[in-house]
């Protein structure tokens, strides 16, 4: 069989593909986005693939496909599951028809997220099944197997990944795609699919019966495995921590027994028998102490004397992510030096040179002044926190509603900041609510024609689908107007002076005012850079006003204003300079 060097996410996609998925739905989010992107690259013609407007909508679409008997999946990052949770919890009650997989990528250490929540909690909470791969090969194999499992028990199956698995790489065996040859057939069954109270109560009972069978089944699964070793100290691990642990033990030439947990529900008997002969057990897992809590439950029945060491006991840190080093620290109680003797400045992510958001922020600060409040949202523009135009960031869509709440008491100007993709995702209800309930605020939609932060995926405002096909482009201005907003203006953040004047005209209107800043993200414009920008040193008075734009390409270096090679030629700094010292030449 052929082997490929794949990203964890690519391996998951390959598994979904081989497992016969016929439709895939997702909203982008790091570290999950490459799953959909890889599916698009290998199976554009064989699978229905879409970027949905948000995770809830994606989930419901995938559920709908499953009701026709076809295999489907929905893919998201951990916080996406919060958005889809309403659908998730009741989908467990109704059960499904065609295999239905929910792929969720958690982000311990919050590498690129607003929190470190653990999706296994959702699996438990909603009473579905969750598989957690320990290796990238296993991630692919589990994706295939999950379809069978889901169909056998008619239950949604979650695959939990984490950043290091999703963005890890490995040699992976490539297999053939197997698609079940069935005709789509939605069978009406109101008792199962219409969750009115009378049906819900019965469905809950059925779900609990199902879980009993599932608990028996997981005892037999080989992915929950035991590596036999010596001594009365043992280890329990889940996910990638299994490999970290194995590497640690190999580095130290130790041969202890290791239990690898890969399914939730966790096999109680198998784990119970494992801890029976032990005096002490260490638990390693990414996220919350889910396995560890279950161990306490198991210990009561199987070995009440055993000492359990993990996050609950305080032996393993509760936040961030684990590694070989962290495991060593926990076991050996040694403080290992993991830092430098000298200060190495961080290279923080910045808005790109010529990013349209820089212009929008500059303009808003100029018009509304220092005391303005900027409730904001999540996207590239959140990096504007350095520029003072981001005052809150909670979750997608929150900015507008938080702003609305603040406006009920604060009398300063309130300008809620939201990106175009985020506006479609979760901003629209907040806007309508704000209009309906007479809030007094500005809403700035930063329409850079893409979902930039997560890798430039299209969205309903772009007129393109995931597969690059043309589709109806939702007109933001018309949409906002139809929500009852009287003052809506569309402006260009590159045209700084004009835009400032435009906004001043509506500055003191009451009610909800919407400013749409429309300008493509520099990474999706097809145009080559037309002008080369430079500072004419004979004119420059070193007033440094041009630095206010916050562009990383214009800096004070050794007492002179210099424009760097990454300048994208947007011209914003040229517009700001009061002396005409910034010039351009056609390339």
């Amino acid at each position: 069989m052929e082997k490929k060097y794949l990203l964890g996410n690519e391996a998951i996609a390959q598994g979904l593909f081989e497992g016969g998925v016929e439709a895939s739905f997702a909203y982008p989010g790091t570290p999950s986005s490459e799953i959909t992107e890889y599916l698009l690259s290998i199976a554009k013609d064989e699978i229905y693939i879409e970027w949905s407007i948000n995770e809830k909508v994606a989930f419901e679409n995938a559920y709908g496909v499953s009701l026709t008997g076809k295999r489907s999946c929905v893919i998201m990052k951990h916080v996406g599951l919060n958005v889809a949770s309403d659908s998730l919890l009741t989908s467990a009650y109704t059960g499904i028809v065609g295999g239905f997989i929910i792929v969720v990528a958690d982000d311990p250490f919050a590498h690129s997220s607003q929190n470190e929540q653990d999706s296994r909690r959702y699996a438990q909470f909603s009473k579905i099944v969750c598989f957690e791969p320990s290796t990238i090969q296993e991630a692919k194999d589990i994706a295939i197997f999950s379809f069978e499992f889901s169909e056998k028990f008619k239950i949604p199956v979650m695959i939990r990944s984490v950043t290091r698995l999703s963005h890890g790489k490995s040699d992976v065996l490539i297999g053939k795609r197997k698609v079940k040859n069935i005709l789509p057939n939605f069978v009406k069954n109101p008792q199962q699919f219409v969750m009115v109270p009378a049906n819900a109560r019965i469905a809950h009972e059925k779900l609990n019966e199902k879980l009993k069978l599932i608990k028996k089944e997981v005892e037999k699964l080989e992915i929950n495995k035991i590596d036999k070793g010596e001594g009365n100290l043992g280890f329990v691990s889940s996910g990638l921590t299994y490999l970290y642990l194995k590497e640690y033990l190999s580095l130290k030439n130790k041969f202890y027994s290791v239990f690898k947990v890969s399914s939730y529900p966790i096999p109680e008997k198998k784990l119970g028998n494992f801890i029976k002969k032990l005096k002490k057990v260490f638990v390693f897992e990414e996220g919350d102490p889910v396995v560890e809590e279950f161990l306490y439950f198991c210990a009561k029945k199987y070995n009440p004397e055993i000492k359990i060491l993990g996050k609950i006991s305080g032996d393993v840190k509760k936040e961030g992510e684990l590694s070989v080093e962290e495991i060593e620290k926990a076991i050996e109680k040694k403080k290992k030096k993991m830092h430098h003797n000298i200060y190495l400045p961080q290279r923080n992510p910045l808005l790109c040179s010529g990013c349209s958001h820089l212009g929008s922020f500059y303009i808003l600060k100029k018009v509304f002044g220092k005391n303005a409040i900027f409730p904001a949202d999540i996207g590239c523009y959140t990096l504007g926190v350095r520029l003072g135009t981001i005052d809150t960031c909670l979750c997608m869509g929150a900015g507008i509603s938080v702003g609305s709440g603040i406006s009920k008491f604060e009398k300063n100007y309130i300008i809620s900041i939201i990106g175009d993709s985020t506006f479609f995702h979760a901003g629209i209800p907040g806007l309508i609510n704000s209009v309906y309930n007479n809030s007094n605020q500005f809403i700035a939609i930063l329409d850079n024609r893409t979902t930039a932060m997560t890798g430039h995926q299209p969205h309903p405002g772009t007129g393109r689908t995931a597969k690059g096909e043309k589709t109806i482009e939702i007109d933001l201005k018309k949409l906002v107007e139809s929500c009852g907003v009287k003052n809506v203006i569309e402006v260009d953040p590159y045209k700084i002076k004009d835009t400032i004047e435009e906004i001043k005209k509506i500055k003191d209107e009451v009610g909800v005012k919407v400013i749409i800043f429309k300008r493509e993200c520099i990474h999706i414009t097809k145009k080559e850079k037309e002008f080369y920008y430079y500072v004419d040193k004979s004119i420059c008075k070193k007033c440094k006003l041009c630095l206010d734009i916050g562009c990383p390409s214009i800096n004070l270096i050794n007492g002179e204003i210099e424009i760097g090679i990454l300048c994208s030629g947007c011209g914003m700094c040229k517009e700001i300079c009061p002396f005409g010292a910034i010039k351009n030449e056609k390339i």
């Binding site: 082997k3 490929k4 060097y5 964890g8 790091t30 590498h111 690129s112 990238i136 290091r164 698995l165 963005h167 890890g168 790489k169 490995s170 040699d171 990638l240 490999l243 970290y244 194995k246 590497e247 190999s250 580095l251 590694s323 070989v324 080093e325 290992k336 993991m338 830092h339 430098h340 003797n341 000298i342 200060y343 190495l344 400045p345 961080q346 290279r347 923080n348 992510p349 910045l350 808005l351 790109c352 590239c380 990096l383 930039a452 932060m453 997560t454 990383p552 800096n555 270096i557 760097g564």
Partner: protein, 184 residues
């Protein structure tokens, strides 16, 4: 062959991921188990990038501190940041050309001293200026890969055939020149 851990580090946009994929795939061509991972903060907007490649490895994607056999550093400050990964006697190849950091100061000479204090097997070279001289900064990654290839326990042919899988044919010549620059 024993396990061989390689760490590549630098700044977003320097072509590090491509370089790492070429090595990883070359390992797969030689039928070795290969692991690896990418580490970059939010959205790669000019932030630090770190890529791990573990040849003949059956463990996790990330190299533990003090275990890297080879570090290929595309930028001095980033190499200093990653130096905790080097094992005793490991090899460090570093590009001496610094990429400035907005609003922060650091002492370049001090950084080179730190690197030197960690290992004797260190090769410091202004690869960026060589890349510009023989074509463009875009081939920096292949130039550094070519230089480092003598330390990597993979056949040159595997690296080259892997490279051809990733790079469009019209750029083969310029990249092959860069790859062979130091051995030619």
């Amino acid at each position: 062959m024993k396990k061989f851990d390689i760490l590549i580090c630098g700044v977003g946009g320097q072509g590090i991921i491509l370089c790492s994929n070429i090595i990883g795939n070359a390992g797969v061509i030689e039928k070795l188990p290969v692991k690896g991972c990418e580490i970059h903060g939010m959205a790669q907007r000019g932030g630090s990038v770190e890529s791990h490649i573990r040849l003949n490895c059956i463990f996790g994607p990330k190299i533990p501190f003090g275990n890297a056999d080879l570090i290929i550093g595309f930028e001095p400050l980033e190499t200093a940041r990653a130096i905790l990964y080097i094992k005793k006697g490991g090899i460090v190849v570093v590009n001496s050309f610094p990429i400035p950091l907005l609003g922060a100061q650091y002492n370049y000479n001090e950084i080179i001293e730190i690197l030197k204090s960690k290992t004797k097997n260190i090769y410091i070279e202004n690869f960026t200026s060589i890349a510009k001289k023989i074509g463009s900064v875009k081939i920096l990654n292949i130039l550094m890969l070519g230089f480092s290839s003598k330390f990597i326990p993979l056949k040159k042919e595997s690296l080259i055939s892997s490279m051809k899988n990733f790079i469009p044919e019209k750029f083969w010549e310029i990249n092959l020149n860069a790859f062979n620059y130091f051995s030619g």
